[in-house]
């Protein structure tokens, strides 16, 4: 376990190698997006349309989604490193490759949690946002979401290995599909035209949208967590099997 913690620590420090000041543009962009997003939802919710969430719930949902963005839809460096030639280096280290990827990803979350999420949690009362979970099961759901996120990411990495020269393309499609169907931008139960019913049982709905809905008290906790467990049980064995089969097909030039 210590090896993984050290790997995560290395990853966290690596982000600040150039100096913390170089992380500021990302932090500024996140803050500048979050504040208008809060007001967008305030404007939208004040329209008087009948929905299943209150304004307070919606604001909490939107803010928490921004604060935990990296964890709600997990993205490991696997796909990018495939084309950059870095992935092969992991095979030269005395730890399982997937374990390293998980540790490196978790470590990479730390700088933004400290520089963006933590300060915004402290400032959240200024945005009229209440960051107290409505259910203690949020934590369990959040962990299941992260776990499922890794499985989904590894499956996309296997797809990148299979399709070789299409890493960028897969990243684009994956970002588009996952951000929409995970409910991190719009809560799934607010989707119009019957889309909510159509998409709420697919695996991406068990990512970000599930813990967020539980946090604000807008979900059936038992059913949501049961679905998350089910998708974890289905996708993890698939991901492990696919990765084992894909490894020998890795072609990585770097550059």
């Amino acid at each position: 376990m210590i090896k993984y913690l050290k790997t995560a620590q290395l990853s966290a420090f690596e982000k600040t190698n150039g100096g913390i000041v170089y992380l500021l543009p990302d932090v500024i962009v996140k803050i500048c997006t979050l504040i208008p997003l809060v007001f967008l939802w305030k404007v939208v919710m004040s329209s008087g349309a009948k929905v299943d969430m209150t304004t307070e719930q919606m604001l909490t949902y939107a803010v928490l989604s921004a604060l935990l963005a990296d964890m709600l839809v997990v993205k490991t460096p696997a796909s990018g490193w495939l084309s950059e030639g870095v992935l092969l280096k992991l095979y030269g280290r005395p730890l399982p490759v997937l374990g390293q990827l998980i540790a490196l990803t978790v470590g990479g979350w730390v700088p933004m949690l400290l520089l963006f999420s933590l300060p915004m949690v402290i400032l959240s009362p200024l945005l009229d946002v209440n960051l107290v979970p409505a259910s203690p099961y949020f934590l369990l759901s959040f962990l299941l979401c992260i776990s499922l996120g890794f499985a989904v990411d590894f499956l996309f990495a296997c797809l990148s290995i299979k399709l070789r020269n299409m890493t960028w393309l897969i990243c684009r499609i994956r970002a588009a599909i996952v951000s929409f169907f995970s409910g991190t931008i719009i809560p799934i139960n607010l989707l119009p035209y019957g889309l909510a019913e159509a998409v709420k049982y697919q695996p991406f709905a068990s990512l970000g949208g599930a813990p967020l809905s539980i946090f604000v008290g807008a979900a059936n906790v038992e059913r949501t967590i049961a679905l998350q467990i089910l998708w974890n049980l289905i996708l993890w064995p698939l991901a492990l099997l696919a990765f084992r089969k894909s490894q020998e097909g890795i072609v990585s030039y770097g550059g």
Partner: protein, 282 residues
């Protein structure tokens, strides 16, 4: 000696880029079609988020669902133009600077600005979002019952051009940092342009002025789609003139030009250390 640059020469250079784009499309059609599909899906996922919110709530901040659709069509047109003219990092210039690739342009017998303006023209593989934007614009225009005249289409073209100038100028402004910190600032342009793209699709109508005004000045996301769309619909917001975007460009361009040239001068004196002697990038 550099070629003489005339309008005809610029068109010919665009033609060369288009020809190379077509050659790639024909040589690797399956991959090119996959890229085109990915571009469309990626853009639609961004604009559909705001549109679906507006559809669910019957509009946003005084803008009707069809007006929001019109704004999303404008945003898609901008994305289309961006991809069609900027897919070779010539708009994300911090990547070229940060990777030490600016020297590659120095050896060509053409001014750098002409190379950057023409090198990326890809109507065949990059034109899909522009086409989708045109279709969305026609649908929105029909649903809104707009009186489309030649003057209105000209206004649309001018606003699209101004929006693109704002995007390019802002990208070049922040990318000037890459002259001084090539590794750390290699992706600054991406952060400034793509990182804020979702924000640029927000209809700012109904938001308080302390949110709207910064988004029309310091961080001009409101000029990416919201402000021009409302101008084209005949009701410029905040009591500002329809000429405000043009005024913004007139102020932004000399500032960008001055700062970028200073950075370039520094780069020419100091060079780049991104490549090791055997060719790999640090």
């Amino acid at each position: 000696m550099a070629d003489k640059i005339t309008f005809t020469r610029v068109i010919k250079l665009l033609g060369i880029s288009a020809k190379m784009d077509l050659a790639w499309f024909l040589r690797d059609t399956k991959y090119a079609l996959a890229i085109i599909g990915a571009d469309i899906v990626s853009n639609l996922s961004v604009v559909s988020a705001v549109f679906l919110i507006s559809a669910r709530f019957g509009g946003i901040g005084g803008m009707s669902v069809d007006e929001v659709l019109f704004m999303m069509a404008y945003s898609t047109l901008i994305t289309g133009i961006f991809v069609m003219f900027g897919s070779h990092n010539n708009i994300h210039i911090s990547r070229i600077i940060g990777r030490g690739q600016l020297e590659h342009l120095f050896i060509q017998p053409l001014p750098i600005n002409v190379q950057l303006a023409t090198c990326s023209f890809s109507p065949f593989t990059g034109g899909s979002n522009f086409f989708v934007g045109v279709v969305l614009m026609i649908i929105a225009e029909r649903r809104l019952g707009l009186q489309v005249s030649f003057g209105w289409v000209l206004s649309l073209a001018v606003y699209l051009f101004i929006t693109m100038v704002v995007i390019v100028a802002r990208s070049y402004l922040v990318s000037s940092l890459a002259f001084y910190a090539p590794v750390a600032m290699e992706e600054i342009s991406y952060t400034a342009v793509e990182g804020t793209w979702l924000l640029s699709t927000f209809p700012l109508s109904g938001m308080p002025p302390f949110v709207q005004i910064p988004l029309l000045t310091v961080l001009p996301e409101g000029l990416m789609a919201w402000f021009p769309s409302l101008c084209l619909l005949g009701r410029p917001p905040l009591g500002l003139s329809v000429y405000y975007p043009a005024l913004y460009v007139i102020i932004l361009l000399p500032i960008t030009s001055y700062i970028f040239k200073r950075g370039l001068s520094y780069y020419v004196r100091k060079g780049s250390n991104r490549y090791v002697p055997y060719g790999f990038r640090r």
